[in-house]
């Protein structure tokens, strides 16, 4: 492994053009992640056609680096503006934004920088050491029933955070699942709920939906506060977390690395679920559950460690099995295909140079989050000083471009603004926006894996549940759901 890593590093640092692409990916991912309204996906979608001019190693490496640094960059907007740069940063906003309002934005961003780097580096190391054995384990033990069970558990966790009641949490998730059913069904390809619009046959693209629910709805909420005189400008806080504060969170970091890695390694799951599960586990094990959502630094740490820990792990199913774990890894498959390559087990034998350049680049990209991130943080906190009336049109336009770029459809821009209005109304009634988004992202994956799992066991529910990992995850999901319903029916409520 060491020799391969050195060879990969030499290939990366030995060629100035490859190095320039690496730095472009690091800076581009961080910037696009940190600019409210656009995300790493916007940058990736724009760059995709240009990768045909690069070598396969440079193309895949560029996307892998954007994936690492963009996942961190999205935390900045989540913390400073309550606008997660990507769905995997949504749980970061739960505690990050309240910290900003308390004047602790520096502490929240500092924790995000450090924990993203720790999670990412740990994940990159495990990825380099164990991609092949882990892929073999995943092939043997993880099938569609386990993936469906994890989706169910993840949705149960998502429903338990964010909404004012368990009912509102579940209604948010179910609305997301219903939106995800629009378009072709994943088994027979039959058109569903297209309401006469031909463009809807391809379904609701999740980038416009995410931008609408997160970015646009936040602008509307801020506009309403200004109109009704309830706007409180966030305070700029430049103090970083102390070493003691960070050291006291070591268990949360370790737990989130494990959670993030486990979620990342499963095909189709990716960093979003990892962040929710990391946050959910932090709440579960905390002695001070009530402080979550009110500015607890552990919330930021858990979510950011888990989502970056998932980035390295997500490369395992991609490279070893050819199965992407999310939108950005799906674009990496496209980069492979542009160069007449297919990701999968053979890529380790046919293109070892490519693999080790990518691994080395991901390691250094995660490391650079620490150094470049701290420098960037010092400047980006000043974004809070820009008057919101000047920031709002910029965010709305960046979001419009981000929504349009993916498929080149004006319909997607309209969907985004519609999602913004729906999100605005639902937020005012205490529903969970991250719950809706997770439902949209996991809906198709859940349905597809449920269908495949059922076909595998010939519709025998006992055989389905006799798979140990599957039954364990379903049980965990049912318990999470049961506790929520019990609390809703029995526990006294507090004033809104």
């Amino acid at each position: 492994m060491i020799e391969n890593f050195i060879a990969g590093s030499s290939a990366l640092f030995g060629d100035p053009f490859t190095l320039a692409i690496f730095f472009f990916g690091v800076i581009g991912g961080m910037l696009f992640g940190a600019i409210p309204g656009v995300s790493m996906l916007t940058l990736a979608a724009i760059l995709l056609p240009f990768t045909s001019d690069l070598s396969p190693a440079q193309g895949v490496m560029l996307f892998a680096v954007i994936y690492c640094t963009g996942t961190y960059g999205g935390a900045i907007t989540a913390i400073l503006f309550n606008i997660p740069g990507a769905p995997e940063n949504a749980p970061t906003a739960f505690d990050g934004y309240p910290m900003t309002k308390q004047g602790k934005s520096g502490k929240a961003v500092g924790a995000a920088v450090l924990c993203s780097a720790i999670g990412g580096v740990a994940s990159a190391l495990v990825m380099m050491a164990a991609t092949q054995p882990l892929a073999t384990w995943a092939i043997r033990n993880i099938g569609p029933p386990e993936i469906f069970a994890l989706v169910f558990f993840g949705l149960a966790v998502a429903s338990s955070v964010g909404g004012r009641t368990i009912w509102k949490g579940w209604l948010s998730v179910l609305l997301g699942l219903l939106i995800a059913t629009i378009g072709q069904d994943p088994v027979g390809g039959i058109n569903r709920f297209n309401f006469g619009f031909a463009d809807l046959a391809a379904g609701i693209a999740f980038v416009p939906a995410i931008l609408g629910f997160f970015a646009v709805s936040e602008i509307f909420v801020q506009a309403e506060k200004r109109a009704t005189g309830t706007f409180n400008a966030p305070k700029v806080g430049m103090s970083f977390p102390t070493l003691f504060e960070l050291w006291s969170q070591k268990i949360a970091v370790l737990r989130s690395i494990l959670v993030g890695f486990f979620c990342g390694i499963l095909p189709g799951i990716g960093a979003t679920l990892a962040a929710f599960m990391g946050y959910g586990e932090a709440v579960r094990w905390s002695k001070d559950k009530e402080s979550f959502g009110k500015g607890n630094i552990e919330g930021v740490i858990s979510s950011e460690t888990a989502n970056n820990a998932a980035t390295g792990a997500a490369m395992i199913p991609l490279l070893a099995l050819g199965l992407p774990g999310g939108a950005l890894t799906a674009m990496m498959v496209a980069v492979f295909q542009m160069h007449d390559l297919e990701p999968g087990p053979l890529v380790f034998y046919n293109s070892p140079d490519l693999i080790w350049v990518v691994f080395a680049a991901m390691f250094y990209a995660n490391l650079s989050i620490l150094f470049v991130g701290i420098l960037e943080t010092k400047t980006i906190l000043y974004l809070l000083k820009i008057p919101f009336q000047f920031l709002a049109p910029l965010i709305l336009l960046l979001a419009s471009i981000g929504a349009y770029i993916g498929r080149g459809l004006v319909l997607d821009v309209m969907v985004m603004f519609l999602a913004g209005i729906i999100g605005f109304l639902l937020r005012r009634s205490g529903y969970s926006i991250p719950g809706i988004v997770l439902g949209i992202i996991l809906g198709k994956i859940g349905e597809q894996n449920f269908a495949q799992g059922m076909q595998m066991v010939h519709y025998d529910i006992v055989a389905y549940l006799s798979r140990p990992i599957c039954s364990l995850l379903i049980l965990a999901g049912v318990l999470t759901l049961g506790v929520g319903v019990y609390q809703a029916l029995r526990a006294p409520a507090k004033k809104a």
Binding site: I46, L47, P98, S160, V161, G162, G163, W167, K168, W170, L171, L174, L175, L177, L178, T181, D185, G188, I190, N191, F193, F195, F220, V221, A223, E224, K225, A227, T228, N232, K289, G293, F388, Q389, A392, P393, L397, L398, S400, I401, I405, G408, V410, V413, F417, G420, F424, R427, R428, S429, G430, E447, A451, M454, Q455, A488, A491, A493, K495, A496
Partner: protein, 185 residues
């Protein structure tokens, strides 16, 4: 009626309406799939069924506790509460903020991004309360320039050009200028 308010009833009615409408539309694609016994309607109908059950749970909570937050909930954004609309200006302002982006989106096809954008920027700045016209003009020009510089000049991103004259001609002019600029490099 317990602690039910009119808004709770509207909320419940909206969820029921969504469930009914979507359930009705499932009959449009209710075809069997040879390899899958639950067909294309199985999953959406389960989601709709669960939505109905949870809507009744939500209604029960409203009936018993009103708008109170369930104990033990985490990650709730406590600043998402609605402000009080005690004057007409506030209502108009919020409606303008909600409507303007939609009008911008509708204008993208006929008018195009390049022409519609400066007007949209200026309008949003005004709606958000800025009245100093020099600032409005300068910031509009700055944001427009930034966006064109990043997405058109640097990234060559394809943006809507519009399909009606003279807006299409304006987009073509901007793109031609960009092309001339690229030739210089």
């Amino acid at each position: 009626m317990g602690k039910l308010t009119k808004s709770h009833m509207i909320e419940t009615a909206v969820w029921l309406l969504i469930a009914i409408i979507f359930f009705g539309f499932t009959f449009e694609f209710n075809q069997p799939i040879e390899i899958y016994i639950f067909g294309a309607t199985g999953w959406p109908r389960v989601v709709i069924g669960l939505m109905l059950i949870v809507t009744f749970g939500n209604f029960y909570h409203h009936l018993k506790y009103g708008s109170t937050i369930q104990a033990g909930r985490v990650g709730i954004a406590d600043d998402d509460e609605a402000g009080s609309y005690d004057n007409l200006a506030a209502v108009i302002k919020v409606l303008a903020v909600l409507g303007t982006p939609f009008l911008f989106a509708l204008s993208l096809k006929p008018v195009g991004f390049y022409f519609a954008t400066p007007f949209f920027i200026a309008l949003i700045i005004v709606i958000f309360g800025e009245r100093r016209w020099k600032w409005i003009l300068c910031i509009t020009a700055l944001i427009y320039g930034l966006l064109l510089g990043l997405f058109m000049v640097v990234l060559n991103a394809p943006l809507p050009q519009g399909n009606t004259s003279p807006f299409y001609d304006y987009s073509a002019l901007i793109l031609r200028l960009n092309n001339d600029l690229q030739q210089l490099w």
